[in-house]
């Protein structure tokens, strides 16, 4: 009997200590580190249904001191917690003037953390900060309505640095003399440029039936850069050494059309191992800028 009561006591104590970790759905919130330069993501489980309650609970969790000495509460004590009001997919947080006492960088951290935390709820898309009923002003500019995508968090590399880009690629038809358009949303890490992504996907080849590759599979991209709207693409020698079963215009315009579909690129210049004076398959000179060619597209 004593043992059981003892265990129950311990259990309830633990539950009280870990106030923010009752069962329910899991949500994340943020701490910062001791030097206040990054966001540290934490998880908790909340049972409440109403969005308002959830947000209030997250604000509580954010404000609770962490047991880990390396984790700090972002919001300074002198800043009062805001009042939360939600209408549909829009959430308004109203602070008082103590908000302006925060230093600039802590303010950004805090704001980013709040927006991310709030927009994690499925229904809420937009967040706005008010101070004493007025729009939040930063550096003489109104901050306005914010969404999750307005904030880029470089620290948590896993989820945030994966970007999804919609690209248009041109592969070959079965007969190898025409191009077919292929739209896809590709995931890539944020530091890979869209141009590189396009070329590498062309090299990898099509995954769907009915589309045929236009470039040899072991071509390597030596470099790709865009200057003044012209994309300079430097490919390895396999581009001319190895044959793909298509007519000689197809590889060139597969590249050109795909790249020109990207914003900011109007023409393409192809080099092979840095050499721009090569004749591709002895018939097409690469010493020119190629532009989007509609006639080769199979409609």
């Amino acid at each position: 009997m004593k043992k059981i009561t003892g265990m129950i006591l311990i259990a309830t104590m633990l539950i009280n200590l870990v106030a923010c970790q009752t069962s329910g759905s899991s949500y994340f919130y943020y701490y910062t580190n001791t030097s206040c330069v990054e966001l540290i993501k934490k998880e908790t489980k909340l049972k409440t249904d109403s969005n308002e309650e959830i947000i209030k609970a997250l604000i509580d969790c954010m404000g609770t001191k962490s047991s880990d000495k390396k984790e700090c509460v972002i919001k300074p004590d002198y800043v009062t917690d805001p009042t939360v009001s939600i209408s549909n997919d829009y959430c308004l947080l109203d602070f008082d003037s103590s908000y302006y006492q925060m230093d600039s960088y802590t303010e950004v951290l805090y704001r980013a953390a709040m927006v991310k935390e709030i927009t994690q709820l499925k229904d809420i898309e937009y967040v706005e900060f008010n101070v004493d009923g007025e729009d939040l002003v930063k550096n003489n500019k109104e901050v306005g309505v914010m969404t999750a995508s307005d904030f880029v968090d470089d620290a948590n590399n896993g989820d945030d640095s994966v970007e999804w880009t919609n690209v248009t690629l041109y592969f070959a038809t079965k007969s190898g003399d025409k191009l077919i358009r292929y739209n896809r949303t590709l995931s890539h890490s944020s530091n890979v440029s869209a141009e590189k992504l396009v070329i590498e996907t062309l090299i990898k080849g099509p995954t769907q039936a009915g589309f045929y590759r236009t470039l040899p599979s072991d071509v390597r991209v030596l470099s790709v850069s865009v200057i003044d709207g012209i994309c300079y693409l430097n490919l390895s020698s396999e581009f001319v050494d190895e044959m793909v079963n298509v007519t000689s215009e197809i590889p060139i315009y597969s590249i050109t059309n795909s790249l020109c579909s990207l914003e900011g690129i109007d023409a393409v210049r192809i080099l092979v191992n840095g050499d721009s004076s090569i004749s591709f398959r002895e018939s097409i000179s690469l010493d020119t800028e190629f532009e989007f060619n509609e006639s080769l597209i199979n409609e």
């Binding site: 990054e38 620290a155 590399n157 530091n191 890979v192």
Partner: protein, 492 residues
Amino acid sequence: MVKVRRKRKKISITKIRKRLVAFFKRLSVIEYIFISLISCGTLFLATFVIDKAYYDALVDKYISNLQNTTVIAAAEYSNYASLEDAVESGMNNRLNVASAIGNVRLRLVNSNLEVTWDTYGTDTSKTLINSKILQIFQNEKTISEFDKENGKVETATPVYNSSDELIAVLIGDLDESEVADVFEYVDDIDFALHIILVTVLLVILFINIHLIYKKLNKKLDLVADIAQGHTDRRLPEGKLTEYKRFASDFNKILDAASKVDDSRSEFVSNVSHELKTPITSIKVLADSLNTGEDFPIEVYKEFMADIVTEIDRESKIIDDLLALVRMDKSASALNITAVNMNEMLELVLRRLQPIAKKKNIDVLFESFRPVIANIDEVKMTRVITNLVENAIKYNESNGWVHVSLNADHQYFYIKVEDSGMGIPKESQDKVFDRFYRVDKARSRQTGGTGLGLSIVKNIILMHHGTIKLHSEEDVGTVFTIRVPINYVKEVK
């Protein structure tokens, strides 16, 4: 029926296991496994270390290039009073060019943490939460980082305006797939290299070990053959040092063994011959008495006396043989006591006085000092007796025999000198051999067995002494023995 089958299965499993164990006990297998493991291990370690060094060096190079591009681009802002002025002068385009040339992504972040320009376009006007930026706004130092897990190479540098105020941070990011690409290429080469080298290694090693052990096993087979009984075979020496050494020593053992065998057969044949001789004489004598005729009693008496002499001779031969064999067996069974050598010598000489008198030989004993030695009295007596007897036997009438005794702190010396017929030079080495007699006819007359001197030598050796002889034909012979006064069981 089922039970029997199960047993058979069990037996074959144990058989297989036994075979496996035996297989792995072979030196060739152990060496092969060991060497191939070590070489493969070395190979992998080497490529691993080289790859790592190269990787680190390459990343360093990438980081420094990135830093370079970023810092140089950031430096341009110091020509302007504010970010807006810089943008108006086309700074964003210059960022694009720098980005294209250096193959990096550049993002300019203002003090609101807003990205005012992203050369990749994606983050422009977003708020960037990046610990490096925040750190720089705090302490204004360039930070570079290589995030190995994500292959991300990033550098962030402060941007100052013309009044040296910190107005922004410029972040440079390297397209990480560049680093990964290089390493994919290196990994591919590694892989191919590993496969080729390991295969080549395993094959060459296999051939090498196979050849070595084939040769070795051939020799072992020959040895097995010899062990089975073909003791006349010898191992061929070959060219390799180790094999040569082994074969030569092995053959020496076989030679020694066969020599022992030979000398044993020789000994047996000698013994049989020696033993037969008196018997033959007895038979001749007995046969001649047994013809059926009647002889006068003097003839019988004479022949019987001769028969007795032969029997005595045979008996002596057998005694000597037994003594020799017993001495061979029990080299350690010396009965060491303190013996007064002077007294012993006098005793021996006194006993031999009668036969000396017969030939009218003068026997002289000279002693330089009293000698007490720790020796086996019985055996040493036999030695002296033998030597003096020989000196008397192989002497002319009216000759002389000198026996002298001397000693120093370590040894005692006995010299037996005679004026006899001497020993011819070619026989001098062989006199100590068993059954060797210089003149067979002569020694038969004198009653010798041919074993005397070999017994003498044996006893002297058992005492760890030495015996030397000096002789000249028709002049005389000197036997000199030197024996340690104190018997030491082991001689180093």
